[in-house]
Symmetry: C2
Subunit: 480 residues, 2 copies
C-alpha cells in the first residue's frame, strides 16, 4: 500500500476493466457487471474472467487476469467469498492498480472467521501497488469514464450523461435504490459516485480529498456510517466544504442506528454529539435521509444563491394555501404581505372576487385545468416585489386531473411559463407538487415534474420538502 | 335562529334538495351540484332552480323554490353574489330548514361592502327557522345521505360508500384536493364531511357537538381557521375527544398563516400558544398538514391500539435500513435487538450471508422482484418476539421495477402475505413504500398501495410519515 497520497484519477477513468466472476449465462451477465459496463458505453477493453467460458456478451473471456495479454487498470472481484483472496492475489501479481471487491460476507457479519478473512485482505495488499475499494460494495459509477453499477442504469440515457454531483457512500443500495434515481429524475447528473463498503483500504477520507480537487464536481453528498481516521476525515471534509457544498447523511446517529450500521459495514459509528459539532465546524449541510439529500441538491443546484427568506406562495388558495404558509414559517421562512403597489397592479389583471392576492397569491391552474392568461404577468409582478426573495409555486392536480383530460400540450404550456419565469425573472422560483393520491394526478404530476427537470426548473414533491431544502440552502449561503 | 341546540340530523339526511342556480347547460351542470347529487345516488327529490329552464339533467326545473309543489329539506345557493340574499329570503319563506350558501365574496374579501352583505345574511336568518352553512364553502358530503360535492366524487364508487370518518373543515379545497382523495385512496370511508366557510350561523362548535354523539362517526378531523365561541368550542372538542379520537389541523398557527386565514374565511385565528394549550387539555391529536391528517387516520383506523414503541424494521438492508432506524428513533420509537431465540430461529430459515437479522431484519422483495419463501414465517417469528410491539415493512421498488416486470400475480402474492400477517399475527403491521423516483416504481407502488387499501393493510408513503403517525397514535393511546 503506497503511503503517499494516492492519485485517484485512474480509479474513475481506467482504460481496461476485468470482471472477475463474470457469468457465462449471458442473460444473467447482461444485468450484471459486464452488461452494466456495456450499457454505460465503457470505451476501453472489458475482460470477462471465467474459467469455463471463451466468450461472454461478445467479449473474449479469460480463465484468469494473468491470462489477459495486455495490462489491466481496474478489476471487479465478483466471486464467492472463498474465492476472493486468490483472485485478489492474482490481481496484485498482474499489477492491477485498482481492485473493487463486490463480494460481501466479511467483517460486517460480526463472525470471527469473516473478520479474519477481511484482515487477510488487508495483509495481502500491504506493500503492494494495488488499492482496494470494498469489500461489500458496488464500487464506482462515473459516467464520463463509462464505469457504473446497478439495475437502475440499464437502458437509461440519463445515467450515461456526465454531470457535476459526486456521491461518496458507505451504502450501495442507498445509491441505486434512492439517491441515484432521485438525482437523475430531477434532471441532475453525476461526476462520480463511490459505494465503498467496508473500506479496508480506500475510504471516505481518500475520496473526499479527491473530489475536493476535482473540477468536474460542484456538489458533494456523503453517506457515512463510520470513519477510520477522524482527524484526517475532519480536515478533508472541511477543506472540501470550503470549496463546494458538502451534504452529509450520517447513518447511525441514534444508538439503534449505530448498531444497525455496524452489522451493515462493520463501521464504528461515533456519537451523534460529535457529528453535530462536526457539521457546524466544517460547515457541511446535514441531511436526515437519502430523499432529503436529493431535495437539498435540487435546491442548491437549481435555485440561484438565495439569501433572503421572504417567500411568495403562488397557487390555488383556501386551506391548503393557509397550511402552506404555516409550513413555510415553521421551516424558518417568512410569507410577508406583498407591497401595496404590487397588489394594485395584480388587481388590475385579476378579478378580485373571493381570491386572496396579498400572499399567498391565488392564481394558477384551476379546478378544471385552465390557466389564467395573466399567469406569467402575475409571476413577474410578484418577482419584482421588493418584499419578496423567492417564489414558491404550489400545484395541486387532484381535482383537475380527475375532471378533465390534461394533455401534453397543456403540460407544455404550464412548464413553459415556469421555465420562462425561472430564466427571466430576478428571483429564484421553485415548483411544488402536492402529494398526489389518485392515479391520474400522480401520473400527471410525474409528467410535469419530468418536463420541469428537462427545462431546468426546480421542482419538489411537497411543500414540507421544498421549504426545508430552501431554508437550509439560505442558511448555508448566509454562513459563508 | 333557534336558540335551542340544533338537531342536525336533517342536515345530513334530507329527503329533498333544491339547487338554486343550476345551469341549464347540462354538460356544465353534470360537473356541478345537480350532477354531484346524481352521481352520489341521492335517493330523494332534486329540484334544479333556474328561471330559464324547464328541465335539467332529466329533472323538472323550477323558476324559484316557491314554485316547488312539495316541501324542501335542503337548499344549495349557487348564484352570483348579488342574487344570494333574495334567494335566501325565498328559502326562509318556503320554510327550508337548511340552506348551504356556496357563493363566495363576503367578509373574506375584507371589503366593507362585502362585510355588510354578510351582516345582512345574519340579520335575515335571525328569528327564522332556517339554519345556514357558509357562505364561501362546499357544504355537506354524506355518502349515506347521498349529499356531496366536488369533482373528486364524479364516477367514484369509493365516494358513494359510507364509513366512519368525519371531517369538519373551514376549507373546501383542503377537502376535495387533499383530504378526501387521500382518505378514499387509503381504503377508508366517510360518515360526514362539512366544509363550512365563513360560518355565519352553523359553525365548528355545532358540528363538533353533533359528531360527538353520532354513532356512525368513529374518528374526527377538524381543519380550523378560527372559531366564534372559544369556551363553547373548547367544551365541544373536549367532550368529543373523550369519546373518539379528534385530530386538529389549525390553519394560521403562525402570524403569516393567521393573516392568510383571515383573507380566506375571515376567521380570527387566535394565537398559536392558546392552541397548543388546547391540544393538551382537550387531548386532541395535533397535525400540521392535510397529508399528515390522512396518515394519522390510517394509523388510528388500521393499526390496532399499539401502546409499545418497539419497532421491528423488515425489508431490504443496507444504508436505507440504517437511515430508517435513525428515523424511527428520532420519531420517539425504538428499534431494539430481537431476542436471541428469535434470531436463532430466523437463522434456521434464512442464509445468513451478509444480511442483518438482528433488527432491521433483511428479508423481503429482492432487487430482482423475488420474495423469500420464508417471508411469512420470518414475519411471524418477529411478531412473536417479546422485544417487539409493531412491525414496519419497508418496500423499495426502484430497482426491481426497473429491472423486471412485476405483474398482478406477484403484487397479489406480496399483498396476500402482508394481509395474512396483519390479520393473523399478534402485533400490528404497517407497510411503508419508499418515495418512488422513476415512473415504473411509482406505478408499481401505487398498485401495491391500492391492493393494501382493499385488503385493509395500513400503508404509508415514507418511513418519516409512518413513524410520525405511529408515534402520535401511541402517545394518544398512552394519554388515555
Amino acid at each position: 500500500m503506497a503511503s503517499a497520497k494516492p492519485d485517484l484519477h485512474g480509479v474513475f477513468y481506467p482504460n481496461s476493466v476485468a470482471v472477475i466472476g463474470a457469468y457465462s449465462n449471458e442473460n444473467t451477465e447482461r444485468l450484471r457487471w459486464t452488461g452494466w459496463l456495456q450499457s454505460l458505453g465503457f470505451k476501453g477493453r472489458i475482460y470477462p474472467i471465467n474459467p469455463h467460458a471463451s466468450q461472454i456478451l461478445g467479449l473474449e473471456a479469460f480463465r484468469s487476469v494473468k491470462d489477459v495479454p495486455g495490462s489491466i487498470d481496474y478489476a471487479i472481484i465478483a466471486v464467492p467469498r472463498a474465492a476472493v483472496l486468490p483472485a485478489l492475489k492474482e490481481c496484485i501479481e498482474k499489477g492491477i492498480p485498482t481492485v473493487h471487491i463486490f463480494t460481501s460476507g466479511f467483517a460486517e457479519t460480526g463472525r470471527p472467521e469473516d473478520k479474519a478473512l477481511q484482515a487477510e485482505i488487508v495483509r495481502v495488499i500491504a506493500n503492494s501497488n494495488t488499492r482496494v475499494i470494498g469489500p461489500n460494495c458496488m464500487g464506482v459509477y462515473c459516467p464520463a469514464g463509462g464505469l457504473g453499477f446497478g439495475g437502475i442504469m440499464v437502458g437509461s440515457e440519463a445515467a450515461r450523461e456526465p454531470g457535476s454531483i459526486a456521491a461518496l457512500s458507505q451504502s450501495g443500495s442507498g445509491m441505486d435504490s434512492l439517491f441515484i434515481p432521485g438525482i437523475l429524475v430531477r434532471g441532475l447528473r453525476f461526476s462520480k459516485v463511490v459505494s465503498m463498503g467496508n473500506c479496508v483500504d480506500l475510504g471516505m477520507e481518500d475520496f473526499l480529498e479527491y473530489v475536493a480537487e476535482d473540477d468536474e464536481t460542484k456538489h458533494v453528498f456523503c453517506y457515512i456510517e463510520g470513519i477510520k481516521d477522524g482527524r484526517r476525515f475532519f480536515e478533508a471534509v472541511k477543506r472540501c466544504a470550503a470549496r463546494k457544498p458538502v451534504l452529509v447523511l450520517k447513518g447511525g446517529m441514534t444508538a439503534a442506528g449505530a448498531r444497525a450500521a455496524s452489522s451493515h459495514t462493520a463501521a464504528l459509528a461515533g456519537s451523534g454529539q460529535v457529528w453535530e459539532t462536526l457539521y457546524k465546524q466544517a460547515r457541511v449541510l446535514k441531511v436526515d435521509s437519502f430523499e432529503e439529500a436529493v431535495d437539498q441538491l435540487v435546491a442548491l443546484a437549481r435555485l440561484s444563491e438565495t439569501r433572503g427568506r421572504r417567500v411568495a406562495i403562488v397557487g390555488r388558495g383556501g386551506g391548503p394555501a393557509v397550511a402552506s404558509t404555516d409550513t413555510c414559517e415553521r421551516a424558518g421562512l417568512s410569507v410577508p404581505l406583498l407591497a401595496d403597489e404590487t397588489r394594485r397592479k395584480i388587481l388590475e389583471l385579476l378579478p378580485a372576487e373571493g381570491s386572496c392576492l396579498s400572499n399567498p397569491v391565488e392564481v394558477g391552474i384551476t379546478g378544471r385545468g385552465r390557466i389564467s392568461e395573466h399567469y406569467y404577468d402575475v409571476l413577474s409582478l410578484v418577482a419584482d416585489d421588493p418584499n419578496i426573495d423567492i417564489l414558491l409555486i404550489r400545484i395541486n392536480l387532484e381535482v383537475p386531473a380527475r375532471v378533465v383530460r390534461i394533455g401534453d400540450e397543456q403540460i407544455k404550456e404550464y412548464v413553459d411559463i415556469w421555465s420562462r419565469a425561472a430564466r427571466s425573472l430576478p428571483k429564484p422560483l421553485a415548483v411544488v407538487f402536492d402529494r398526489g393520491e389518485y392515479w391520474e394526478p400522480i401520473q400527471l404530476a410525474y409528467r410535469m415534474r419530468e418536463a420541469c427537470s428537462k427545462a431546468g426548473v426546480a421542482s419538489f414533491p411537497s411543500v414540507e420538502s421544498a421549504t426545508r431544502a430552501i431554508a437550509k440552502s439560505i442558511q448555508y449561503y448566509e454562513s459563508r
